[in-house]
């Protein structure tokens, strides 16, 4: 038997496979990882601190920059927190618009994951395909609110812009196009021998572990926990749509892949129903010009593409929050990484990290 020596290896912070600025200090013995220590905080901008000095409307653009792959859901959580304490009734059209953009954003986010994940484990072309389709969603958002990534679209009491003419037809066209493309993706990847070898039975954890670590979203469902806030704690108008929640069995990387692909399909279903039932009316509720949130505290939660996105808001009745805390799903999901990497082959590091689907802007807030 060959004698091996332990070696310290530094991954990141600047490394393409970390999807941001994330550092990982690993100890390797031969090709086996014996210990992994994540180091985060490189992108910390103090969003929560800044929010204490901003009015509620001013906070919304800052949330765009947390999970920048899914800014719509981030917009939603902060206005939802304030609306919960203010007990604002939203116009239907605003609720529908919110659901449509949030689900489109979920698709865009999962497409980025799909593309970059396969790039991580060595497949080039899915990246190009996924970004081609994602571009259509970004164009839709561009038409709707003038921005491709940082939308600043939602306001307390509704949304900023009503749909432009013909926009809903473009969404319909996108849905049918995306459905076809999704099949193409799966044909291309799901049966691929190399892909299966690199994902099946890798990075496995149990349902109990997932719950213990506070994982959420696909990371939780892939382990077999049937839990989706859109269905189980309905917010906005999600209770009006029919959709299934894909759940995995083994908690390995392959289950995460199938869950995310199926989620795209289900999101398309939700968008389709929302477009069909799209109501007339205003897109903003009548709210005071200066928003003051009544005294109190509330924790609200929603299903973002990465998991349970929450917001804990403490208000003292002023136009600025007293304390605003974001429950950031990437931050929780990343915690299980040292446990997953221990004893793992070093070649699987990137595959496991990518499978969690983190956005460092969100981890570091």
């Amino acid at each position: 038997m060959l004698r091996t020596e332990e070696m310290l290896l530094n991954v990141g912070p600047q490394h393409p496979s970390t999807h941001g600025v994330f550092r990982l200090v690993i100890t390797i013995d031969g090709e086996t990882i014996t210990e992994a220590k994540p180091v985060v905080g490189y992108l910390h901008r103090g969003t929560e601190k800044l929010a204490e000095d901003l009015t509620y409307t001013q906070i919304v653009p800052y949330t765009d920059r947390m999970d920048y792959l899914s800014a719509m859901t981030n917009n939603y959580i902060v206005v939802h927190a304030a609306e919960t304490l203010m007990e604002v009734e939203l116009p239907e059209r605003a609720e529908f618009l919110r659901v449509i953009v949030m689900e489109l954003n979920r698709i865009a986010s999962h497409l980025v994951w799909f593309g970059t994940y396969l790039l991580d484990i060595g497949a080039m072309s899915p990246f190009l395909l996924a970004f081609r389709e994602r571009e259509q969603i970004l164009d839709l958002f561009n038409d709707l609110c003038g921005a491709r990534l940082t939308y600043n679209y939602m306001r307390i009491g509704g949304v900023k812009w009503d749909v432009p003419e013909g926009w809903l037809d473009q969404v319909r066209a996108f849905i049918s196009n995306m459905r076809e493309k999704l099949k193409e993706y799966e044909d291309l990847v799901a049966g691929n021998e190399i892909f299966l070898n690199r994902t099946r039975g890798i990075g496995v954890y149990s349902a109990d572990e997932a719950i213990d670590y506070g994982l959420s979203g696909v990371n939780l469902r892939a382990a077999g926990v049937d839990w989706d806030l859109r269905r189980d704690r309905p917010y906005s108008v999600y209770d009006r749509f029919e959709f299934d929640v894909p759940v995995g069995k083994n908690g390995d990387l392959y289950d995460k892949f199938t869950c995310r692909m199926e989620e795209i399909r289900q999101s398309l279903r939700i968008v389709e129903q929302a477009v069909d039932q799209f109501p007339e009316g205003p897109v903003m509720a009548k709210v005071p010009r200066v928003i003051r949130v009544p005294e109190g505290e509330a924790y609200v939660q929603m299903e973002s593409p990465r998991g349970e996105l929450g917001c804990y808001l403490v208000s003292r009745g002023k136009d600025k929050p007293y304390r605003l805390k974001f429950r950031r799903p990437s931050f929780y999901n990343l915690q299980i990484l040292p446990r997953l990497l221990k004893g793992e082959n070093v070649a699987n590091l990137v595959a496991i990290l990518g499978g969690i689907d983190i956005v460092l802007g969100e981890v570091d807030a």
Partner: protein, 275 residues
């Protein structure tokens, strides 16, 4: 603004005879911000349009006008405005005397409708379980957070928090196995760590608040109960300076290791070596 409102309320309570009875009612209703959302939307709209182009305080004051919706509305509005101005003067005088009241509790009471919350029996049952196992003093207080979807909220003594956390997770009836959220708040007179727990088995949620003093804040770590608490406790320590005793690796997580101070504390002063 809350201070002002409280002052206003207090004034109405102490001198109700100072104004015509009917008017006092409408005035009160308009001033109570918590009642404002119960008004029908059209009325709110009217308020808003009247408030346009005026200063903030005027916007609030003009809400006095929303009750008289008849033809005499304009007259009444002018009268109410004059009255509001007078009230504001009196209020300012009162404030100058330093007559501020710690109105948190009274404001809460006002807001709550009289009928008991549907979650009240559940909360009572949970409090009984915890008190039964850990003693009377383990649960300092309990309440229903109404605007937050009637979330049962427990105030747990920090000395018993670790045992209480174990009980919350392991008790058959409670089974809070999922840590949803962990946040620290600096309330200036004390610090608080807030836990939002969820039970995947029973599908119920609870909010737990643990108070600690502001000087040298410290509460027991619960990483051994919920593994997910690890980084969150580090974050709270990093940003608020609350120490979690028994945490395996309590270091800064978001700020640089050599940072001075804890930014989310209300008395935080940025430290700059160059100055």
């Amino acid at each position: 603004m809350t201070e002002k409102d409280r002052e206003k309320e207090k004034q109405h309570e102490t001198h109700p005879g100072g104004e015509p009875a009917g008017k006092t009612e409408s005035h009160k209703g308009g001033n109570d911000r918590f009642l404002r959302d119960n008004q029908p939307d059209e009325q709110k709209g009217a308020v808003q349009s009247q408030g346009k182009g005026e200063t903030d305080s005027d916007t609030v004051d003009s809400s006095d006008v929303k009750q008289p919706a008849d033809s005499a509305a304009k007259k009444a509005a002018a009268a109410a405005k004059a009255k509001a101005a007078a009230a504001a003067k009196a209020k300012a005088a009162g404030a100058a005397k330093g007559g501020s009241i710690p109105g948190r509790a009274s404001a809460k009471k006002k807001k709550e409708p009289p009928e008991p919350s549907p979650k009240q029996p559940v909360l009572d049952r949970w409090v009984r379980i915890i008190r039964g196992a850990l003693g009377e003093e383990a649960v300092e207080d309990a309440m229903i957070n109404r605007p937050n979807g009637h979330l049962p909220t427990l105030f747990i003594s920090k000395d018993r928090w670790l045992e209480a956390a174990r009980l919350l997770k392991e008790h058959e009836e409670l089974a809070f196995d999922y840590l949803q959220n962990l946040a620290g708040v600096d309330y200036e007179e004390h610090m608080e760590v807030v836990f939002h727990l969820f039970s995947m088995r029973h599908r119920h949620a609870v909010g737990v608040r643990v108070k600690t003093e502001r000087e040298n804040p410290e509460i027991p770590s619960v990483t051994c109960v919920w593994a997910g608490a690890d980084w969150n406790e580090r974050e709270v320590y990093d940003l608020l300076g609350i120490r979690f005793t028994g945490h395996p690796d309590l270091r800064r997580i978001l700020m640089p290791d050599d940072w001075v101070g804890h930014p989310l504390r209300k008395d935080y002063e940025p430290f700059d070596e160059g100055v």
